[in-house]
């Protein structure tokens, strides 16, 4: 019989390690809430085309409908004449010059009501998950199904901007969702890259020791000697600064991952140094297992807790760095959206006019929430995986 022998009528449950960890994680309330928040953000990002009323680069600028820096559209819930509740509608807006401040302001034109339509039609888009297939492949296969269904929208010439518009009259709400695609995936991919490189090189350094160890640790030291931001910028300069966003996306992942593997490698090396003296590693060696087998089957799995925790804590760092890079104009570029880039665009037109368009700062809030959530999940995972931090 496996497990504790009990004489009582209710047998003791024995939990697997995975079950214990999951149970512990669930007790970390902030981490659970954060997990839901992140889930929601990823869902919003995946279905951005459907949820956003306008396309990523659909702009209302200098044309028949000019919505440069239009404030968030007011949604009316009540009939202005009777005061009774009605289906939500918006008014068309006109830009007028305010004679006191000499600035353009948007005034509502209350002559016609434009009801908010749900499940309406908009610009065509390639739906998720088909849009994950690279465009060039889709083109060669001739497989480009498009959909025009959108969650909500209003008839033109009225427009609906939940969180206002940027200088080119593009919907900030929608672009935040499209930007989430970039910001949220770059962080994960870069963390995977940093983790894989760090784990393998750290394990190799710790397991073999000698000159290989010296070499790898020297490289780590050299990399940590140059400030990460500058290394990032210098490496970024190796690629054309005006490259297409789809190229920049992978370039940034590559650079971020290659800059940050050092910390992982150093920690893993330390663990492997003691792990390789363990009896079970000796046993494996005695049985004639190859070095690669010992490293990948016996040594690295023992560092799994560390890997999981550092993975979740690497992501927020990468998100911050990516948004910083885009903020400097060296990351994802227009017309594609990224939260950092949107904040940089917010500065266009000078600081002094900032107070007239505070909605341009909302992307910063999203960076904040995302990083916060990842930090909490990381903390929760660390506590859950640490036997010393068990909660009753």
């Amino acid at each position: 019989m496996i497990g504790p022998v009990t004489s009582s009528s209710t047998p003791l449950r024995t939990l697997s390690r995975g079950q214990v960890v999951r149970l512990q994680f669930r007790k970390h309330r902030l981490a659970m809430v954060s997990l839901w928040v992140l889930g929601l953000l990823y869902l919003l990002a995946a279905f951005a085309d459907f949820i956003a009323p306008y396309g990523e680069s659909e702009s209302f600028f200098r044309g028949a409908i000019d919505r440069s820096f239009a404030p968030p559209t007011r949604i009316h819930w009540r009939d202005p004449e009777t005061g009774a509740q009605t289906r939500p509608f918006v008014y068309n807006v006109r830009s007028e010059i305010n004679l006191e401040t000499l600035q353009f302001e948007f005034k509502e034109d209350t002559s016609t009501r434009y009801p908010i339509r749900f499940f309406t039609q908009g610009q065509p888009y390639v739906p998720f998950p088909i849009n994950l297939i690279p465009q060039t492949w889709r083109n060669t296969w001739g497989f480009n199904p498009t959909v025009t269904l959108r969650l909500f929208g209003v008839d033109k010439p009225a427009t609906i901007f939940l969180w206002g518009a940027d200088r080119l009259g593009r919907d900030v709400f929608g672009r935040i969702l499209f930007g989430a695609r970039i910001t949220l995936t770059i962080g994960i991919f870069a963390a995977v890259l940093a983790l894989v490189v760090g784990l393998v090189l750290g394990a190799v350094a710790g397991y073999y020791g000698g000159w290989l160890d010296d070499l790898i640790m020297r490289v780590v030291e050299v990399l940590s000697t140059i400030p990460a931001l500058f290394l990032l910028l210098a490496l970024r300069a190796l690629f054309p600064l005006d490259a297409k966003s789809s190229v920049v996306f992978f370039v940034v992942i590559l650079i971020l991952g290659l800059i940050r593997w050092g910390g992982v490698a150093r920690a893993v090396r330390g663990q492997v140094l003691s792990l390789r003296e363990e009896d079970y590693v000796m046993a494996a060696r005695g049985l004639g297992a190859s070095d690669a087998r010992i490293i990948f089957r016996h040594v690295l799995p023992a560092t799994a807790s560390f890997a999981i925790v550092s993975f979740s804590l690497l992501i927020p760092g990468f998100i911050l760095t990516e948004s910083g890079l885009s903020f400097l104009g060296l990351g994802i570029s227009d017309p594609n959206a990224s939260w950092g880039l949107m904040l940089a665009v917010a500065q266009e037109g000078g600081m002094q006019t900032f107070t007239s368009r505070p909605w341009m700062l909302i992307p910063g809030l999203f960076i904040f929430i995302t990083v916060l959530a990842f930090n909490f999940v990381g903390d929760g995972l660390r506590d859950a995986l640490d036997p010393k931090a068990r909660r009753g």
Partner: protein, 351 residues
């Protein structure tokens, strides 16, 4: 101790060579040879090009070039010339570094002065309200991007501008005080929203007003950088003090009847402080780059804006110079923190 110091300094040399070599390779790989650029540029300074060609041996193999470049740095501190500014790189980057380090050093000192008492307070009052409030701030401080934080502060100051201007320009008794304090206050700006000094009037100010003007401009960026540093450091101090509060020698000290004050400050702090001090080495790179985007938003003429501009204009030797100098500064920082650690913690043996 002397022996330890010498060995520690010698260890720096291979790292330095590695870092500069890496910087050099990156620059070599950067597409677009600058000589091509000069050939196309009608304003090209043929003399400067010739000088660079001679000094750096641009026709030699890459490794020879590296040694020539290195030799120039070691013997004459010659880092090359800037194409954009038509001046030696040193002349351009030294002011940038001075500007950045005023900001970073002030913030670093503030961070340490604040983090240690706050961390101790949190540990002593573990899980009480005060602890949780500070923990909350730390969590927020860690998650908010520096460049977003400074943007928020600037927007906040701008929001206050209109009401404050009305108050400030009223015919009140305090007007002379405002005039005396700051140029910006008169316009309703609580703090300056960018730059190192008020350029419009700086030259007409007396020296102590100039000092005041500069300090006034330091406040917002310092606040942002200090918060960033504090958030991570306070956590470390708190954890350390908590660890030691549960140790045997603390129980002994309490049993002897020592006051809690003496126990915390004499027994615990002495032990808890060493990783905090060695942390200076890890905080420093964060500060050099952390100041980075803040400098950019605040139009502070520091290292990072200089670096970004140099990269955009492919001003290769300025990029190189900044890479090398920041690497040197980081190595010095690590060295200092190691030495401090050795001084503070008698358990560290120098062999």
């Amino acid at each position: 101790m002397t022996q330890y110091l010498i060995r520690r300094v010698l260890q720096v040399i291979p790292t330095f060579i590695g870092a500069t070599l890496l910087a050099f390779i990156i620059i070599q790989l950067t597409p677009g040879d600058f000589t091509d650029r000069f050939a196309l540029d009608p304003n090209a300074d043929a003399e400067q090009l010739q000088r660079l060609r001679e000094n750096f041996g641009l026709d030699d193999p890459v490794l020879v070039q590296y040694f020539k470049w290195m030799w120039g740095i070691i013997t004459a501190g010659y880092l090359g010339e800037s194409f954009t500014y038509r001046a030696p790189v040193t002349e351009i980057i030294v002011p940038l570094i001075i500007n950045s380090f005023t900001l970073v050093l002030i913030s670093l000192i503030l961070t340490y002065l604040l983090a240690i008492p706050i961390g101790i307070y949190q540990a002593v009052n573990q899980y009480r309200l005060g602890d949780q409030v500070w923990s909350f701030f730390a969590v927020v401080g860690l998650a908010i991007p520096n460049f977003f934080f400074i943007l928020l502060l600037i927007v906040g100051v701008l929001y206050l501008q209109a009401p404050l201007r009305e108050i400030a320009q009223g015919n009140a008794w305090y007007r002379p005080i405002l005039d005396f304090l700051s140029y910006d206050l008169r316009n309703g700006l609580l703090f300056p929203v960018g730059g190192m000094r008020t350029t419009e009037i700086y030259d007409s100010l007396s020296w102590w007003q100039q000092v005041g003007d500069r300090l006034w401009h330091l406040i917002l960026p310092t606040l942002v950088i200090t918060t960033a540093g504090l958030s991570s450091l306070v956590r470390v101090v708190r954890g350390q003090v908590l660890d030691f509060l549960q140790s045997d020698f603390v129980r002994t000290a309490r049993a002897k009847g020592l006051s809690e004050r003496v126990v915390v400050y004499k027994h615990v702090l002495r032990n808890a402080i060493s990783p905090v001090i060695s942390g200076i080495g890890t905080v420093l790179p964060e500060l050099v780059t952390g100041a980075g985007l803040v400098e950019f938003v605040y139009r502070w003429p520091g290292i990072t804006p200089g670096f970004v501009i140099a990269i955009q204009q492919k001003d290769l030797y300025v990029v190189m110079g900044l890479l090398v100098l920041s690497a040197i500064l980081l190595m010095i920082g690590n060295l200092i923190s190691d030495v401090l650690l050795a001084l503070v913690d008698p358990r560290i043996r120098y062999s």
